[in-house]
């Protein structure tokens, strides 16, 4: 096996790699006693995440067209399209609901969003207690980036913009208690690409086409499920 020498590989042996063992040298580390520590004293000091750090999502509800590209690219199947009713008015398109119990913060969904409705901010802190009802906070329809920006400016820490989410399983009414005290209520009337029964009769042309498409897609997803 001495033939392994190849012309391009520059091999360095013994003489350069080996060191001398020493008693004295380790003591030289003492010099760092007199230097400024690198520690970030967390409650008193803060380091900010880098710009464009992949944190929580934001969603411009007006721009979102409900195409489910984000749901398709998601490696964790964290995104579910949700039909929403705000103040008695049903949103024309479904919006993605992101589950931080699954999200990997890869932001591929942001990359593929065709209208740029889905975005992300640098916020990265979300701490709750471990009770079932507190963990509801991890599943939300992202709110408007402007609102998040406003909250960030107000509080200056990179926390999750919502403090508490209550979800009534019977009436499907969801309330977001934002950090600045405002409440944001809406009703979730269904999931999936297909408009739910409540939404179908009211809007006329567009959702009907949509439903035809989506039913096709649903079928394909079902076949996928069988394969998997």
């Amino acid at each position: 096996m001495e033939s392994v020498k190849k012309p391009r590989v520059r091999i360095v042996g013994e003489e350069k790699v080996r060191l001398k063992k020493s008693f004295v040298k380790p003591w030289l580390g003492i010099k760092y006693l007199f230097k400024k520590p690198v520690t970030i004293k967390i409650p008193f000091e803060r380091i900010e995440p880098a710009p464009k750090y992949r944190g929580f999502h934001t969603l411009d509800w007006k721009k979102c067209i409900g195409c489910n590209f984000c749901g398709q690219i998601c490696p964790a199947r964290a995104i579910e399209m949700t039909w929403i009713e705000v103040d008695g008015k049903i949103e024309k398109r479904p919006h993605p609901k992101v589950d931080y119990g699954r999200c990997t913060f890869c932001q591929f969904c942001v990359d593929v969003c065709p209208t740029g409705a889905l975005g992300h901010v640098e916020n990265c802190y979300l701490t709750t207690s471990g009770l079932e009802e507190d963990l509801e906070l991890y599943d939300w329809v992202p709110i408007d980036p402007k609102k998040v920006q406003e909250l960030n400016e107000k509080f200056g820490d990179y926390r999750f913009p919502v403090e508490r989410i209550t979800f009534n399983k019977e009436t499907k009414e969801t309330t977001y208690y934002l950090r600045d005290g405002t409440e944001f209520r809406f009703k979730i009337i269904g999931y999936g690409l297909k408009p739910p029964a409540a939404a179908r009769p009211k809007p006329a042309a567009k959702p009907a086409q949509k439903s035809a498409e989506s039913s096709k897609k649903d079928e394909s997803s079902k076949t996928e499920e069988k394969k998997g």
Binding site: M1, E224, E225
Partner: protein, 193 residues
């Protein structure tokens, strides 16, 4: 798309050749020729620079690997690919030659029903680990390896050989963790794409 992909692979070969001034084609070619000279039952070809592959019938795989061992010192990996439609397992012994810097994929196909292969533990002792893995995830029997059995998995999953294509993962997960293992109201327990 499918049509113009094959010429592209060949283009790649030419491109990589340019980066190295010596004649790489001859190096791999000579190596393949030398091995095929000793083992005429195998087929061999050069994929690209530093990549060669062999096709060997399963009965003579041990014999072939003993021959190949003289040139390829390391067994990098044993990959099992489950071709469900053909009803076959493709077992790929990936070898690396330290002296020649060539990667070889030695392919053999065995039936899916009764997958048996002789062990190569005595040629490369590291094969023990790879074979245990292949046995665990695909159920390939490597005859002569004494340590086949649950290795990474626990016995419950081990019996299922989870990497086989006909293992229904979602169904299995639903069986263990409950039909609706999603915590939230919208149950995301199916695939979207």
């Amino acid at each position: 798309m499918d049509m113009n992909e094959k010429p592209k692979v060949e283009e790649k070969v030419e491109n990589t050749e340019e980066t190295k001034p010596e004649l790489p084609e001859t190096k791999e070619g000579r190596l393949v020729k030398e091995i095929l000279g000793e083992a005429p039952y195998a087929e061999g070809n050069v994929r690209r620079e530093r990549r060669v592959e062999f096709k060997v019938p399963p009965e003579r795989i041990r014999e072939f690997l003993e021959t190949a061992q003289k040139k390829f010192e390391m067994l990098i990996q044993i990959t099992v690919v489950d071709w469900l439609k053909e009803g076959e397992f493709e077992v790929i012994y990936q070898l690396w030659s330290v002296s020649e810097s060539v990667h070889a994929a030695v392919r053999t196909r065995i039936p899916r029903e009764d997958p048996r292969l002789p062990t190569v533990m005595d040629i490369w002792p590291v094969a023990e680990t790879y074979e245990r893995e292949g046995h665990e995830f695909f159920g390939v029997m490597y005859e002569g390896n004494p340590r086949l059995g649950p290795f990474i998995l626990e016995p419950r999953e081990y019996e299922k050989h989870p990497f086989r294509k006909d293992f229904n993962m979602l169904g299995y997960v639903k069986g263990i963790y409950g039909e609706d293992f999603d915590r939230y109201d919208e149950s995301k327990t199916n695939y979207v794409i």
